[in-house]
Amino acid sequence: MRRGFNAVKFAIGGCIAVTLAATTLAAHAKEEGPIRIGWLSSLTGPLSSAAIAENMGVQFAVEQINAAGGVDGRKLELITRDTIGDPTKAVNFAKELAFSEKVSFIIGPVNSGESLATVPILTRAKVPNLIIGTVDELTDAKKYPYAFRVINTNEQWISNANRYAIETLKHDKVAIIGDTTGYGAASAKHAARLLEESGIKPVYSVLIDPNKTDVTDEVRQARDAGADVIMPWSASTGLLARILNARGNMQWDVPIVGHPALMGLPIRDLLNKPEYWDNTFAAGYVSTTYDEQGKLPPNTAKLMEEIRPKLGGTIDFTFWWVALGYDTVKIIEYAVKQANGSTDPDDIKKVLESTSNLEGVYATYTWTPEDHNGFPDSAMVLNLANTFDDGSFKVATP
C-alpha cells in the first residue's frame, strides 16, 4: 500500500515536472520567434494623411531593424490593420491583434477618438500600447498600466501656444475658436481653462461647425469683442482656412496662434491669397524646425536622408509624422533589448517606466511609474505656419 502511494506521488510529480518543462520550453520557443507588432493605422478615410506618413516611419524602422539582424536575433513582424479612422473598426482590430494574432505590442490607433475606445481593451489584454493620440485622458499609469504615450499631450500643445501668445507676442485679449466635434469642443474648453488659470479671461469664445461654409461673422464678433489674438483649436483644415480667409478679407492683421493643422499644406490651397497665411503661428516640434543656419537637428537630418529615396526625393508632408512612426518601433526595439529579449508585458512596463532621456528622432523620452507621458515640453516650439520647406518649418518670431 505504502509502495503504491509512493508510485502515485511519483507519477503526479513526474506529470508536474513534464508540464512545467513543456511550459518553459513553450515560453522559450515563443521568445525565440519573431516579435509581433500590431499597427492600428487609418491609412484611408479622414485624417489618413497623418497615418500614411506615420506608416512610412513605422515601415522604415521595421525594415531597418530587420536588415540589421532584428532585435537580439529576432525579426520584427508588423501586422497592419486599416481602421479607416472608425472607432468601431479600431476596437475590432485591437481585439483581433491582441487575442487572435497575439501580438506583443500595439502601436496606435492614430486618432484619439479611436484610442479612447481601444486603450481599455488593450489594458485588459495586457498588451503594451504605444499611444500616438494627444487627448490627455489616454494615459493614466494606474488605469492603463500598459499604455505609454509617445506623442505630446493636447495640453502641451495648448500651453505652448498660450505661452507664446501671452509671453512672446504680449497679447492677452484672446478669442478662442473651437469646432463642434468632441475634440474641438474639449480643446477649446481646455484652452480657456488654462488661460483662466493664468489670470486671463478670453474676450470671445465660440464653437463652429467644421463644415460651416462661412465664418466671417464669428471672426467679426471676435474683433468687436476687442480680441488681439485668435487661437483656433480645431484639426479641420476647411474651418482653419475659412478663419484665415475671413481675417484676410476683413483686412484685420491680428495674429493667429493655435493647432498644428494651421501649418498643414492643404491650408495653402484653400486661401484666397497666399499672404492670408502671414502672422500665423502653430504649435510644432524642435525636431522639425530649422535653426538659424537653416539646419535640422542631426537625428532628423539623418533619418530624412536615409528615408528620402523611398519617398521619391521630395518630402511634401509634415515630417514629424514620419519621425513619430519611426520612434515607436525604435522604442519597442529598445524595450525588448533592455528586458533581455523578453516581450512579457510586465517586463516591458518595468523597462519603460524606468526609461529616462531615451533619445529618438521626434523627441527624447522619459517615462516613470507615475507618468506615462514620455514627450518633454522642451521638444515643443512654435512654428511660423507658412514656412513649410521639405517637411519642416521655421521657428516663430514675432
Binding site: 463642434t180 464653437l207 461647425d209 463644415n211 460651416k212 462661412d214 483644415t237 482656412a241 490651397d269
Partner: protein, 286 residues
C-alpha cells in the same frame, strides 16, 4: 448683422436648391433619394478639378460639371431606382440610394482626398468685397434663376405639363400614352442639371469637399419637410428659413446649437404641421 443675413440667405438658397432637387425627382418617382446632396458635391468637385487641376476655361468647367452631374442623376435613376421600383412597392429605394450615395462619396474621398479643396474664383473681384462677395450672390442668384426656370418649365411648356401629369397620377398618364419611365429618368437628369448648376455656383462657399453631399441631403430634406413635400415654393421658403435660422442661431448661441436647431425645426413641423407650410394634406377617401 447684415453679413449674418446675407450668409444665411446664401446657405438657405443652397438648402432650397437641394429641396428643389428632391421635389423634381420625387414628383415622378415618389422617391426621396439620399443621393440628392451628392449631386451638388459631384458638381463642385468636378468644377474644381476641371478648372483648378486641369486648367480648363471656366465655361468648360461649368459645362463639364453640369454634364457630370446630369450623368450622375441619370445613373442614380438607372442603378438605384428603376429596378427597385419595378420589383417592389416597399421603400427599398432608401437603401439602394443610400448605398449609391455612400459608394460615390467614398470613391470621391479616395480619389479627391478627404480634405476640402479650393474652388476657383469665377469672376474677377477683390476678396475684400464683404457682403457683396460673389460667393454669396452667385448661389443666391443661381437658385433664384433655377426656381424661376422650373416654374416656367412646369407651367408653360408641354413637356412640363407632361411632368405634372405623371406627378399627379402616373397610371392615368401611362394610360394616355405617356412613357412614364422615360419621364422619370428625365426628371433625374433635370435634378442633375439643377444640382450641377447650383453646386458649381456655390463652390466658393462650400469648397470642393467629399462630405458635402450628406450635409445637403440632410438639410435639403429638413427644408423640404418644413416647406412641404412637392411644393417648390415650400422648398424655397423652407430652405431660406432653415439657412437664416441656423446662421442667426450660430451667431447668437454658438455653433454647438446649429444642428439641434435644424433637427428641432424638422421635429416641430413633423409634430405640428406634418404636411409642411405649403404641402398638401394627404387625405385618403374611403
Amino acid at each position: 448683422m447684415l453679413s449674418v443675413l446675407i450668409t444665411g440667405l446664401a446657405i438657405g438658397a443652397l438648402y432650397s436648391a437641394a429641396a428643389l432637387a428632391y421635389n423634381v425627382m420625387y414628383s415622378t418617382s415618389k422617391v426621396l433619394s439620399i443621393t440628392t446632396g451628392h449631386i451638388f458635391m459631384v458638381s463642385s468637385v468636378a468644377g474644381a478639378f476641371l478648372i483648378g487641376d486641369l486648367g480648363l476655361p471656366k465655361v468648360v468647367g461649368l459645362l463639364g460639371a453640369i454634364v457630370i452631374a446630369i450623368i450622375f442623376g441619370l445613373l442614380t435613376e438607372l442603378i438605384a431606382i428603376r429596378r427597385i421600383l419595378a420589383r417592389s412597392e416597399d421603400h427599398l429605394w432608401l437603401l439602394s440610394t443610400l448605398a449609391l450615395a455612400t459608394i460615390v462619396q467614398q470613391s470621391i474621398g479616395l480619389w479627391w482626398g478627404t480634405e476640402p479643396r479650393a474652388f476657383p474664383r469665377l469672376i474677377p473681384q477683390d476678396f475684400t468685397a464683404g457682403i457683396w462677395d460673389q460667393k454669396y450672390w452667385l448661389v443666391i442668384g443661381t437658385v433664384a434663376l433655377v426656381a424661376l426656370g422650373l416654374d416656367l418649365f412646369y407651367r408653360h411648356t408641354l413637356f412640363g405639363k407632361v411632368f405634372l401629369a405623371v406627378a399627379e397620377d402616373p397610371f392615368a398618364a401611362k394610360a394616355r400614352g405617356i412613357a412614364t419611365d422615360r419621364i422619370r429618368a428625365f426628371s433625374y437628369g433635370i435634378a442633375g442639371f439643377l444640382g450641377g448648376l447650383v453646386g458649381f455656383a456655390a463652390g466658393q462657399l462650400t469648397f470642393a469637399y467629399f462630405a458635402l453631399g450628406l450635409t445637403l441631403t440632410l438639410f435639403g430634406f429638413i427644408a423640404l419637410a418644413a416647406g412641404g413635400l412637392g411644393s417648390n415654393l415650400g422648398a424655397i421658403v423652407g430652405g431660406l428659413t432653415l439657412g437664416l435660422l441656423s446662421t442667426f442661431a450660430t451667431y447668437f448661441f454658438g455653433g454647438e446649437y446649429q444642428q439641434t436647431i435644424a433637427v428641432g425645426l424638422l421635429m416641430l413641423f413633423l409634430l405640428i404641421k406634418p404636411e409642411g407650410l405649403f404641402g398638401n394634406k394627404q387625405v385618403r377617401h374611403v
